[in-house]
Assembly symmetry: C2
Homo-oligomer: 358 residues x 2
């Protein structure tokens, strides 16, 4: 039976970068005789405009039926002021993550040697940087109940959210992180705020418990404030980091920015069976949307991750990654990673160059 990939362009630069990534996907599909069927659907602001909701029923059904999903990006100022909190582009993304049980978010922060200068950090601090952040994606304060805004005595309004994890949720993401560490440098740093938050005391306890099953992996713990500091001070001390949804959101963005080339970083969000959604780490960049300036490489590298993790096509994934490295060696750069002596190209030219390199 042929496998099925759902493509969700989304908003802002989403459609442009996804167009380039599709070129790459279609080429390897044909060359390797994968017989993939590729469909598109609406999500985020684009879906709000067309249907009134950020995650239409058809999109959710198609996402459930797919073997893997490729997402561009969602969101933009056009929808930010929508007074109805349920009708925001982000709710489309959060809805897919949650409805499909995509709890395991892998966010690599890798410094490409060709782009070492792009970092705001000194070369000796970041050269060779290769961190994997494992973020829990379907629980924690993002989804905790109760939540909302209520009135107290005297009509004073109060906003509230609930940060909650049960042992099973923690164990599940913990295993993903320990397995990932086992396949890398065997060092796992679990990030929490166990000196203040009870929910993370449980987190730490379960990580300790799991570590007995992974005696070959060295487990350490770090408070989130210190982790943010250590990422700036000495990021190469980390191999794999594991943390909850909210801390992971913050730390993975900080870690990505250490490389100076967030336009290069893909991500995967996986369920228990390896089905996943793949997307660039960066956002929808509405300020440059439609101008052909966006860097499609993070999305193209997300295709590679998709082939490797969800479609069992590791060889094609390797080829795509090699092709990306090759175009960087050729000196091609989109605006975000441009530097002296290199050749600045558009989104489409970059996509075509990767296709050519393949």
């Amino acid at each position: 039976m042929s496998k099925n990939v759902l493509v969700l362009p989304g908003d802002g630069i989403g459609p442009e970068i996804v167009t380039e990534a599709r070129k790459v996907l279609e080429l390897v599909n044909e060359r390797h005789g994968m017989g993939l069927e590729i469909n598109e659907a609406l999500v985020g602001g684009a879906a709000i405009d067309a249907t009134g909701v950020p995650l239409p029923e058809e999109t959710l059904a198609a996402a459930k039926a797919a073997d893997a999903i490729l997402l561009g990006a969602v969101g933009g100022p056009k929808w930010d002021t929508n007074p109805d909190f349920a009708i925001r582009p982000e709710k489309g993304l959060l809805g897919i993550r949650s409805q499909l049980g995509l709890f395991g978010n892998l966010r690599p922060a890798i410094l490409y040697p060709q782009l070492a200068h792009a970092s705001t950090l000194k070369p000796e601090v970041v050269s060779g940087l290769d961190i994997l952040i494992v973020r829990e994606l379907t629980g924690g304060i993002y989804f905790g109940q109760p939540r909302g805004v209520r009135e107290k005595e005297g009509g004073i309004r109060e906003g509230f959210n609930t940060y909650v994890y049960d042992e099973n949720e923690i164990r599940r993401i913990g295993r993903v992180a320990f397995e990932a560490a086992r396949a890398r440098d065997k060092r796992l740093c679990s990030v929490d705020k166990a000196n203040v938050l009870e929910v993370t005391v449980l987190w730490r306890e379960i990580m300790e418990e799991l570590s007995k099953e992974y005696p070959d992996v060295e487990l350490s713990h770090m408070y989130v404030d210190n982790a943010a500091m250590q990422l700036v001070r000495a990021p190469k001390q980390f191999d794999v980091m594991v943390t909850g949804n909210m801390f992971g959101d913050i730390l993975s963005d900080a870690a990505a920015m250490l490389t100076g080339s967030i336009g290069m970083l893909p991500s995967a969000s996986l369920d228990e069976n390896g089905k996943g959604m793949y997307e660039p780490c960066h956002g929808s960049a509405p300020d440059i949307a439609g101008e052909g300036k966006a860097n499609p490489l993070a999305t193209i590298l997300s295709v590679a991750m998709m082939l490797r993790y969800s479609l069992n096509e590791g060889e094609a994934a390797d080829q795509i990654e090699a092709a990306v490295s090759k175009v960087l060696d050729q000196g091609l750069r989109t605006g975000d990673i441009m530097s002296e002596g290199m050749r600045q190209v558009s989104t489409a030219e970059m996509g075509d160059a990767v296709v050519a390199a393949l």
Copy 2:
């Protein structure tokens, strides 16, 4: 009536750095005829060892009676594994903040020109850096109820905390931040996660409302993940940042580390009447405690903040800051900020040098 300063050395390097800061405080007290009465009390791990609790009644009473408080630092591995969550050093610190209503936490991240090389960031990215982070300190998820660990059906344990702010709490910290911005470059960036968390939707709304009272201050909003990223990418874009307790904990540590010299950064925690607790931004550094290696300058600069904000002795504060700058110009450095060609000194030598420069 004479004013009254309570000194809380705390744990780790706390006693050492506080000893040096006291030398400085005693000198200016005498020279300027302030007639300050200076007392000491136990807090944190030191208090647990002596009395069984991190915040003894006498300490709390003395803190309430004081006009200002100088704190070293609390915490250490010795007490980290205490199974009773209420008997941890951090609870002493959190108890003082909360019982004294010290809701307004000011954390400057300033790069001293003499220490520009200490940053892990490129000089052009951080030279002249001067950010003030205003962190809410007595609310949010640090203190929200309900909280704890409970059993669900089937005996599955679940940890939970509550992130909550009411309009008055937000307005109160908002005013501190707008006032601070007004006295600086008149730019305030409020950090939230209003695309996901309802409590921060209310936060954003109140900040917008307040900004009508401060038409001379330019208000902007940023999601916390982007803020973490922008601090790494282009930190000089910020003047004053305001955020809640948890995000402020993370972002202020990241911002402090941008300077590369967290041993230089003081902080103030103020109540509604300007009474405050003053402490260095760094922690208790148990690994170097008792070795005379700690940098006392953040604590000495905390004394300067105390004189300025709580004791109305701005002139003495200016003199202390000038003296610190002078010892840096003289080339004196503790180990944490040491570089080639400078003279490495101990904690006490550094304190004595500031006294001499005064």
